[in-house]
C-alpha cells in the first residue's frame, strides 16, 4: 500500500464512505498534504464507490481544496475591500519580497505558497491573512517579517 492509499483508507475509515462525508475526507487530505493529487482523487473515488470525475468535480469547485501542488505553508492574503483600504498591497509586496515569489507561486523549497483570497471575516482588524488554518490580523510589514522569520526558524 502506498502512503496515499494508506492515508485515504484511514480517512474513509474515520469518516465513513457515504458521499456526505466527501468534503471531510477531501479536507483531511488537504490538512496533511496541502493539495490533492491524482492518486488521492482516484483512491478516494475507489474507497467511496464514486467515479473519479465525481470526486474531482467536487474538489475543483472549492478554493481551499487545491488540486495544484502547494507548499507546506499556504498563505492567503485577503484582497477584499476593507483590507485593500487598510494596506493589503504593502503586505502582499512584503511577502513577495520575503519569499521571492509572485502571488500564485510556491517557493522552490516547497515551504510557502502565496495566494490571495476573499474576505476572511476580520475586516475590522484588517489587513488580514490566513496561514493554513491560522488567522493573522492587523498586519503591518514589520509583523509580516516577524511571522515569516518565525516560521522559517521553527521548521
Amino acid at each position: 500500500m502506498s502512503n496515499t492509499q494508506q492515508m485515504v483508507k484511514e480517512l474513509v475509515d474515520k469518516h465513513g464512505n457515504d458521499r456526505t462525508n466527501l468534503m471531510a475526507i477531501l479536507q483531511g487530505v488537504i490538512d496533511r498534504e496541502r493539495s490533492l493529487n491524482d492518486e488521492a482523487i482516484t483512491e478516494i473515488a475507489r474507497e467511496m464507490d464514486l467515479s473519479a470525475a465525481q470526486v474531482y468535480g467536487t474538489a475543483s469547485f472549492y478554493t481551499f481544496l487545491d488540486t495544484q501542488p502547494r507548499g507546506e505553508y499556504v498563505i492567503r492574503v485577503c484582497r477584499t475591500i476593507t483590507c485593500d483600504m487598510k494596506g493589503k498591497r504593502e503586505i502582499l509586496h512584503m511577502l513577495e519580497n520575503l519569499l521571492k515569489v509572485n502571488v500564485g507561486e510556491t517557493t522552490p523549497d516547497k515551504k510557502f505558497t502565496l495566494l490571495e483570497t476573499n474576505c476572511l471575516g476580520w475586516c475590522h482588524k484588517g489587513p488580514a491573512m490566513l496561514i493554513n488554518d491560522k488567522a493573522y490580523t492587523e498586519l503591518t510589514v514589520e509583523k509580516v517579517k516577524d511571522i515569516i522569520t518565525e516560521i522559517k526558524h521553527n521548521s
Binding site: T20, T58, F61, T80, G121, K134
Partner: protein, 388 residues
C-alpha cells in the same frame, strides 16, 4: 442640524447565561405551538440577509410529513464586511447550540449541523469541546438530538442555503432551483430548517425573555436588535448590537470619521448609500436591509475601486452554473474597466446597468440577482468617479 441621537446599544446576544441549563430546560418544556407562537409574535426575521420570519420557517418545516428532518446553522459568513457570526460562535457558542436544540424539538429533528466556513476552522477544536459538554446537558434534559460540525472550503456561494445542502451532500456547491424551499426539500431532500447563527441565538432568547421584550425594540417591520459588523473608515470598527430602525444619518454620526462619503449596507450584495440619502435611509427591512455588514467610505476613497473590488469578488465567487451570472459578472468587470480607460463611452454604463437588470430577473440564485444592488447604487450615485 438634526439633533444628535445616541444609538441604542443592546446587550442580548453576548450576555452570558448564568444559568443556561435552566434556560434551556424551561424552553424545552414549553409546547411546540407555544414556542412557534412566541416566535411569530416577536416578529423575529432571519438575520442572514433574506429576512424570512423565523416562526413561519419552523412552523412550515414541522408541518411537513417526513421520516426525517434536519436543523442547520448557517455559519458560512462569507459576505464581505460581515464578521459577527465568528464572534458569536467564539463567545457564546452554547447559545447557538441551545437555539438549535429548541428548533430541533419543535420540528422533530434528531440531527443538526453547523456549516462552518473553512476560514473559521481555527474555531473548530474549541467548538467541538463545548459541543461535547452540550450533548451531556441534552442527555440530562432528555432530548434526543445531536449536533455535528462540518466545514466549508472557501466558497462564498455555499452560504446560499441550497448550495450549502449540496456541499454537505459532497457535491459542488451549486444552488438548486427554488421552489421547492428547504422547509419541504432541504438537506438530503428532507424538510430542513436553516438559520443564521444570530437568528438561532435570538430564537432561544425569545423563549427566555418572551416575545414582548424583543418586540419592544425596533420598528414595525424590523423588530428587535441586530448584531452589526462595522468596518472601513471608522475610528471604532468592530461588532455592535444595536436596536433596529435607526437612520443612516444617526449611524454615521456615531460611527463615521466626520468625512463619510457613503456607506455600503449589506456587503457586496447590498446597497451603497451616498451622503445625500443618509437622512432618509432607515436600516432595516423597511429601508435598506443588512445581514449586519456596514462598510464606511470617506471622501479619500475611489468608488470605482470599490465597485471594481466587488465585481472581482462576484466574478470569482459565481458558481458558473447559469449564464446570466457567469457571463454577466465578467462583462460588468471588463465593462467598467473599459469605461475607465476611455475605450468605451460613458453611455456604456447604461448598457451595463441594463445587463444587471437582466441578471436580476434571470439569474438562478441570490448571488447573480443581487449584483445589480451594489452596481446600480454605486454607478448611479458616483458616475463621475467611474470615468475620471
Amino acid at each position: 442640524m438634526a439633533e444628535k441621537k445616541q444609538l441604542k446599544r443592546v446587550d442580548i446576544i453576548f450576555t452570558e447565561e448564568c444559568n443556561f441549563k435552566q434556560v434551556l430546560s424551561e424552553a424545552l418544556q414549553r409546547s411546540d405551538d407555544e414556542i412557534i407562537q412566541s416566535l411569530l409574535d416577536s416578529g423575529l426575521r432571519g438575520r442572514g440577509g433574506a429576512g424570512f420570519p423565523t416562526g413561519m420557517k419552523w412552523k412550515f418545516t414541522a408541518q411537513e410529513e417526513a421520516d426525517e428532518r434536519f436543523i442547520i446553522c448557517n455559519a458560512d459568513e462569507g459576505e464581505p464586511g460581515t464578521f459577527k457570526d465568528r464572534e458569536i460562535l467564539f463567545k457564546v457558542p452554547y447559545k447557538v447550540f441551545g437555539g438549535m436544540a429548541v428548533g430541533a424539538k419543535v420540528i422533530g429533528a434528531k440531527e443538526g449541523y453547523i456549516y462552518l466556513r473553512g476560514e473559521y476552522k481555527f474555531l473548530l477544536d474549541d467548538l467541538q469541546k463545548q459541543l461535547d459538554d452540550f450533548h451531556k446537558l441534552l442527555d440530562e434534559l432528555g432530548l434526543d438530538f445531536r449536533i455535528h460540525i462540518v466545514t466549508g472550503a472557501g466558497a462564498y456561494i455555499c452560504g446560499e442555503e441550497s448550495a450549502l445542502f449540496e456541499s454537505m451532500e459532497g457535491k459542488r456547491g451549486e444552488p438548486r432551483n427554488k421552489p421547492p424551499y428547504p422547509t419541504i426539500n432541504g438537506y438530503k431532500g428532507k424538510p430542513t430548517v436553516i438559520n443564521n447563527v444570530e437568528t438561532l441565538v435570538y430564537a432561544l432568547t425569545i423563549c427566555r425573555l418572551g416575545a414582548e421584550r424583543f418586540k419592544s425594540l425596533g420598528t414595525n417591520d424590523s423588530r428587535g436588535s441586530k448584531v452589526f459588523s462595522i468596518s472601513g473608515d471608522t475610528p471604532i470598527p468592530g461588532i455592535y448590537e444595536l436596536e433596529l430602525g435607526m437612520t443612516l444619518e444617526n449611524f454615521v454620526e456615531e460611527f463615521g470619521d466626520g468625512d463619510t462619503k457613503s456607506v455600503q449596507v449589506g456587503g457586496a450584495a447590498g446597497f451603497c448609500v451616498p451622503r445625500k440619502d443618509f437622512k432618509d435611509t432607515i436600516i432595516g427591512f423597511e429601508g435598506v436591509p443588512t445581514g449586519g455588514s456596514m462598510m464606511l467610505f470617506n471622501s479619500s476613497r475611489s468608488m470605482y475601486n470599490v465597485i471594481h473590488n466587488y465585481l472581482e469578488f462576484f466574478e470569482e465567487e459565481s458558481c458558473g452554473q447559469c449564464t446570466p451570472c457567469r457571463v454577466g459578472c465578467q462583462q460588468l468587470l471588463l465593462g467598467v474597466e473599459a469605461v475607465k480607460r476611455g475605450d468605451k463611452p460613458i453611455s456604456y454604463l447604461d448598457e451595463l446597468l441594463k445587463l444587471t437588470e437582466t441578471m436580476k430577473l434571470t439569474a438562478k440564485c441570490g448571488l447573480g440577482q443581487s449584483v445589480a444592488n451594489s452596481f446600480a447604487s454605486i454607478v448611479d450615485n458616483f458616475k463621475e468617479e467611474m470615468i475620471y
